[in-house]
């Protein structure tokens, strides 16, 4: 890097193909690189309400240095996809991008900012701490492979929910959940449906999910009555019985989620962990609930 000043340019000035290329270049040496093609990045931007006018690419002259994106929803903002090209790291690019995004969030009157960082990504974690973010908790990324034998469905009254009924159940009070699991994400996503389960002892609950061509993902769920593990085991048994050949990918499940034992019993494995971090406090309208209530 030269001494020339780092410029921050809105991502809206780049095509989705250019942005994809920049993003992938920043991740080539990551342990979990998570590359994307343009279609996948475009869906990411749409599903997570990424604001292209307030997301930034860092440049120095004609040289691209890094990228960072800002999601914007009512009362909150989210920092995501922060990455710096390997050969320009340790030169203040990450900090410049972060400061730029925080300024943009402030311009939009968002004083509550959320992010997640992969556990053991020490440089990024340290940068976020220095900028005033605090740790909220650990999040799990879980997978369930489709090669597992489909479970026998638990005896229960299981009702399939179409999109509108499913979204109605998730409600709009998930604003303090990790960004990927908030109501808006499900509202933005295609192919969302759900399942309501009532067991013989009247315990009951629901699961809302996105079914893609090859995967099940974006779960929202709640135990209305009864033991969360029992209810979760019941809805998972019906889901995986119905879709035995789909890979399942769950992001950002809180480690203290009382439904978790059912996921492990159903064959889910931990892929990796993230740390959730917040700057500022959620405004009152983002009603805080316990993880058990929020799922």
């Amino acid at each position: 890097m030269t001494d020339e000043k780092i410029q921050l340019v809105p991502t809206s000035r780049f095509t989705i193909e250019q942005l994809t290329a920049i993003y992938n270049q920043t991740r080539v040496d990551y342990l979990v690189p998570m590359p994307m093609n343009a279609k996948r990045l475009a869906a990411y931007i749409a599903d997570y309400d990424v604001d292209s006018e307030h997301s930034l690419v860092a440049m120095q002259g004609d040289e691209l240095l890094g990228v960072a994106m800002l999601g914007v929803r009512a009362g909150r903002a989210w920092i995501t996809r922060l990455g710096v090209l390997p050969n320009t790291r340790r030169g203040g690019v990450g900090k410049a991008l972060m400061n730029g995004l925080l300024e943009n969030a402030a311009k939009l009157n968002r004083s509550f900012v959320m992010l997640e960082v992969i556990k053991n990504n020490v440089p990024a974690h340290q940068l976020f701490l220095k900028l005033g973010f605090r740790e909220i908790g650990e999040l799990l990324v879980l997978r369930r492979p489709p090669i597992m034998p489909p479970p026998d469905p638990v005896v229960a009254d299981a009702q399939r929910l179409e999109r509108m009924d499913a979204l109605r159940l998730t409600g709009r009070d998930r604003g303090a959940m990790p960004w990927t699991n908030q109501s808006e994400t499900l509202i933005n996503a295609n192919d969302v449906s759900g399942l309501h389960i009532t067991l013989a002892d009247d315990s009951r609950g629901w699961l809302v999910y996105q079914r893609q061509k090859f995967t099940l993902t974006r779960f929202a769920y709640k135990t209305e009555v009864g033991n969360p593990t029992t209810v979760a085991y019941a809805f998972l048994s019906h889901l995986h019985h119905q879709y035995p050949r789909l890979d399942t990918q769950l992001e950002n499940i809180q480690v203290n989620d009382p439904h978790l034992p059912a996921f492990y019993e159903m064959g889910y494995v931990e892929s990796f962990r993230r740390i959730e971090m917040w700057l500022g406090n959620p405004p009152p309208e983002l009603k805080m609930k316990t993880p058990g209530e929020l799922r």
Binding site: L31, V32, M34, P35, N37, P146, I147, F214, R245, V269
Partner: protein, 123 residues
Amino acid sequence: MIKILLVEDMPDTVELVRRTLSPHGYEIVHAPDAETGLEMALEHRPDLILLDLGLPDYDGQTLAGWLRAEPTLAGMPIIAFTAWPQETARKMVESYGCNGYIQKPILKVKDFVDQVDSFLKTG
């Protein structure tokens, strides 16, 4: 000639694998993403699939799941090719029905060739 399907999105890695294995009598066919990987596995019926876990459309585990669910590809060795920490790689390999994994980056050419040979023999 032994045919290996390399599913990998990084051109430098593709080139390195090609240069490393071709002189040892392997034919390398290449897919840059998971959907192409599935198509090429069905079309080419390779002797072994070397599978990057971080792909741009669907990830490598998802592709491993599709391949394992495809009856006409039963028994085909699938080897994960990844820079993930060993414990994570081992867990994913076991869960998704891969036969094993080879750690990235390729540090010693001979070791890499030996690992590929070994997986071809044991399946």
